[in-house]
């Protein structure tokens, strides 16, 4: 896509969660895979093995889960706290609140002044950040390892309670409104991405994109902040992940000391119950924006990320849109020259996912022609099996990414967090490679037929404002 947003801190989550299948199913699939795939793999390249993350996993009496993996290769440590609350949990009439709240977590707490988190990280050569997506909110720090205890204290402190005042609240809310303008209103396709999600869900709260709306942000109050903290920021809704240069016994004692005393409330954590209904017929929409070149977006409704088809859909995304050898790039950008850019992604969420295809048109081309070509490529994948070579090419790209994700302690913490919080099984992180390798030619064709029917499709045309008939403007 043409616009890659510059993000500073407290960004909306832009990375997609990795996908997982339930633990028992995976073990079964791996054993099959080893038998069938051994020869093919060996004949081409000896595949390096994904280094297994050796982690400890324990839960405190108050429900806080600690996952920790020592790695002494550099004198730094990555700390992440994952709260199982995202924009799908935004209160009524408060879209964007989970994300706005994330910003408040950097203001005054019981024992910290506003921005003290920066004093404890940035000022000593570390970094901090936070991100919110539909399902989770993540706070992360990377610090020189001698600061680990300090940060465990600080994370516990802001879990124990916030102390934000009106002035801080208002000025930070203005920052979030600027974030909205910078992400949605200013980039040529910012609103296109926003609308694509908004229109793709009819019932589920995923229909409210994480950034929310200016009106709902304006309606939010300091009281909402306290209520949200009391409802979702509790030890049994938090997972602490520590990766890097630390001593296990010391870490355990610090976590007990600082997180241990925080009480678990008696009331249950509210969870979204709404199920997105399946689509029965194609949905079509036309919108206009500040873009010079039109864009076309398709989404297909797919299951939540714990579903066993998620890995095959990920491979499909690579076959369709991974690199210049991909089906869509070759057909639409290279051969037919209808598109300036094209992308495909298996955009997984906890409750229901979207397989997204987006394209920006080349100068002077028609969206109808582009759509026809996109659909023709999808039909090909439904009608004819991919070759083993093409499948391997897609998988190899995904596999290299698995290694890149684990290059830093922060990346490893992210991988563990996704597995632990979104699937409940941190060990799933160690099966990523096997799951990707297990996807077969037949799997690809099967999921193409299962999910890519016309009746499960949304089509959004995003046209230049200038092309709108004048009476309608």
């Amino acid at each position: 896509m043409a616009s890659i947003r510059r993000l500073t801190r407290h960004s909306l989550m832009i990375c997609q969660p990795r996908r997982y299948v339930p633990h028992a199913a995976i073990l079964f699939r791996i054993s099959l895979l080893l038998v069938t795939n051994l020869f093919i793999q060996a004949a081409v390249f000896s595949q390096p093995r994904l280094p297994q993350i050796k982690f400890s996993d324990r839960t405190l009496a108050n429900g806080l889960r600690l996952i920790s993996a020592p790695d002494h290769s550099s004198p730094t440590v990555a700390i992440q706290v994952w709260y199982h609350v995202g924009s799908k949990d935004d209160p009524n009439q408060r879209s964007g609140f989970a994300h706005l709240f994330e910003h408040m977590m950097f203001k005054s707490t019981r024992n910290m002044k506003s921005e003290m988190m920066d004093r404890l990280t940035e000022d000593v050569g570390g970094s901090n950040g936070a991100s919110t997506n539909d399902d989770v909110t993540i706070y992360n720090e990377v610090v020189p390892s001698n600061y680990l205890e300090t940060l465990i204290w600080a994370e516990a402190d802001r879990l124990a309670g916030l102390n934000v005042d009106e002035a801080n609240f208002k000025s930070e809310r203005d920052v979030v409104k600027e974030e909205y303008r910078e992400g949605v209103l200013t980039p040529p396709y910012g609103r296109f991405d926003f609308l694509l999600q908004q229109k793709s869900f009819l019932q589920h709260p995923y229909k409210r994109p994480t950034i929310g709306s200016i009106e709902d942000l304006d309606a939010a109050s300091l009281r909402d902040v306290q209520e949200f903290h009391a409802t979702y920021y509790r030890p049994d809704n938090a997972t602490l992940i520590v990766v890097g240069d630390f001593d296990q016994k010391q870490l355990d004692s610090w976590v007990d000391k600082y997180f241990g005393p925080i009480e678990k409330p008696n009331r249950p954590i509210p969870r979204v119950q709404m199920k997105e209904p399946s689509r029965n017929s194609e949905i079509r929409a036309v919108e206009h924006g500040i873009n010079e070149l039109p864009a076309v977006g398709l989404t297909y409704l797919t299951p939540g990320l714990a579903h066993p088809d998620t890995d095959a859909l990920e491979v499909v995304a690579a076959i369709l849109g991974g690199g210049e050898s991909s089906r869509l790039y070759r057909a639409l950008v290279y051969e037919q020259q209808l598109a300036a850019d094209v992308g495909a992604s298996a955009d997984s969420r906890e409750d229901a996912s979207l397989f997204e295809i987006t394209a920006v048109l080349s100068e002077g081309k028609k969206p109808e022609d582009l759509e026809r070509s996109l659909l023709a490529e999808i039909r090909k994948l439904q009608d004819q099996p991919v070759s083993q070579l093409e499948l391997d090419r897609a998988k190899n790209q995904l596999i290299t990414n698995l290694f890149r994700e684990r290059e830093t302690s922060e990346g490893t913490a992210q991988v563990l967090g996704e597995a632990a919080v979104l699937l409940g099984h941190p060990e799933q992180a160690n099966f990523d490679l096997a799951r990707t390798q297990a996807v077969t030619v037949a799997d690809v064709q099967r999921v193409m037929k299962k999910y890519f029917a016309g009746s499960n499709r949304l089509v959004l045309y995003y046209l230049p404002e200038a092309s709108k008939p004048s009476e309608a403007r």
């Binding site: 970094s127 600027e178 500040i290 070759r330």
Partner: protein
């Protein structure tokens, strides 16, 4: 590497906390720090003049190979802006042995990424793969650098891609401001044009221009090969010789790199507004000539910049944290072979365009009138050092940093002296650098946005404001205005 200690200080803190309270109200102090070291690169120069550098890191089975041509967008002829980058992008679109499609298929079968692009001062062709696939990846890397065919149909295809991409960039206030800022600072000089070209220049580039660019600059004695990651140096040198050892060194002399980047004091202090009524925000830029990479003030410069830049830097403190005027303000000091730009920038709602411009100017001025005390400077240096170290954590980051040192003819060991060089800088250095090199009054200001709502205030603040409707913007001339206008 074992580490097992409890520092005395934290032990005392622990005991104190345990004695007095269940929850501790002040942060526990840090333990003793561990020192950092970065890998040491090794190098050889092949008989054909190619400099080969290997930097080992074995944490992950990943490796990146980067062939750096020591020229980029700065050698674009004035009328042919974008030539170096278009040429680079065409390398992967066909060689005497492979078509564009085959190249993409082969690289992606390796699970790799192959990128070729020009930037200022260099053109980098880089491939990253798992380490057991380095040899086949380098086969392709060598092929695209040495034997591109530049087929006419591929040139046309790329040209249209470039035009489309630029059209999209021209929808964005920040890209427009960046292009305008470069033109204002450098005019017809080396760095005055967009590195990807302009809508007009891209249409002028011919196949002959592309062939000439490749012939003049893509040569063994004008290139550096950097391989980093999970590879031992002997294997690295062997592979370098195998794929690049027979790359003949041309008899013709290398073209001398132009240096026409003399400061032009008569045109500084411009305030330029590009009026784009449909802009969702205003992009506000302050630009000033900065330094070149070999400037003795380099470390003074980057520490000065870090006082402004970064989450807790002065710009963000004033613009975001205190006033909620932007999602993020920042600055950069890009040192190049010739004098690169200093840029301070923020995006804000259109209504605040003038206020943010004033804040940017104030903060640059305040560097010399109110230089940071030790208490402010120490954390900013720590932030800069931390960022440097984190950038070197990935193989790609490591290779990119080493490539840059090599490109500018600096000692590769500088990587291990960065921290001490930064630590040496004091408050007086910042004051002097800001006063002598970043005069706020001679800075130029560029605002791209819906000018209706910020222009009156801006005109009060700065008398002489040039307002150019976006439809009249011409990025090919320092006047920035299309000739037929008015």
């Amino acid at each position: 590497m074992k580490k097992r200690f409890i520092s005395v200080v934290s032990l005392i803190a622990y005991l104190a906390a345990a004695a007095f309270a269940q929850t501790q109200t002040t942060p526990p102090p840090p333990a003793k720090p561990r020192s950092v070291t970065f890998p040491k690169p090794v190098e050889q120069t092949l008989p054909n003049g190619l400099r080969v550098i290997i930097v080992e890191r074995h944490d992950m089975p990943l490796v990146t190979a980067s062939l750096v041509i020591k020229n980029g967008g700065e050698v674009d002829p004035l009328e042919l802006a974008g030539l170096a980058d278009l040429t680079a992008s065409l390398l992967t679109k066909g060689t005497t042995k492979r078509t564009a499609t085959t190249i993409a298929e082969e690289v992606e079968y390796l699970g790799g990424e192959l990128e070729a692009a020009a930037r200022w001062d260099s053109t980098n062709v880089t491939v990253g793969v798992m380490s057991n696939k380095l040899a086949p990846a380098m086969t392709i890397l060598a092929d695209v650098v040495r034997r591109p065919t530049f087929r006419p149909d591929e040139i046309e295809r790329q040209r249209q891609q470039y035009l489309d991409t630029l059209t999209v960039s021209l929808d964005e206030p920040s890209s427009i401001a960046r292009f305008v800022g470069a033109k204002v600072l450098y005019g017809d000089g080396l760095y005055g044009h967009p590195v990807q070209g302009t809508l007009e220049s891209l249409k002028r580039i011919s196949r002959a221009d592309v062939l000439k660019m490749h012939r003049l600059f893509y040569r063994s004695d004008n290139a550096i090969l950097v391989i980093g990651g999970d590879i031992n140096s002997e294997t690295g040198f062997t592979l370098a010789k195998r794929f690049f050892g027979d790359w003949p060194k041309p008899a013709a002399r290398l073209p001398t790199t132009p240096t026409v980047n003399k400061p032009d004091s008569t045109t500084s202090g411009r305030v330029v507004v590009i009026d784009k009524p449909n802009a969702g925000q205003a992009a506000v830029y302050l630009v000033h000539r900065g330094i070149d990479r070999k400037d003795p003030d380099y470390y003074r410069g980057i520490v000065t910049n870090s006082v402004l830049n970064g989450y807790s830097g002065r710009l963000n403190q004033e613009i975001r944290i205190k006033r909620g005027l932007s999602y993020g303000a920042g600055s950069s000091l890009e040192a190049r072979r010739d004098v690169g730009p200093f840029v301070a920038t923020a995006q804000t709602k259109n209504e605040s365009g003038s206020e943010v411009a004033g804040l940017l100017v104030n903060e640059v001025a305040r560097l010399s009138t109110l230089p940071p005390m030790e208490s402010e400077l120490t954390p900013r240096k720590a932030a800069l050092i931390g960022e440097f170290s984190r950038n070197l954590e990935t193989v790609n980051g490591l290779v990119s940093h080493i490539s840059s040192l090599a490109l500018y003819g600096l000692s590769l060991d500088e990587i291990n002296h960065f921290i001490e060089n930064v630590q040496l800088i004091n408050s007086a250095d910042i004051e002097k650098f800001a006063r002598t090199r970043l005069d706020a009054k001679s800075s130029d200001i560029i605002i791209v946005g819906n000018s209706k709502v910020f222009l009156p205030e801006l005109q009060k603040r700065y008398g002489n404001v040039e307002v150019i409707p976006f439809s009249q913007l011409d990025l090919n001339t320092r006047l920035l205005r299309k000739k037929q206008a008015q």
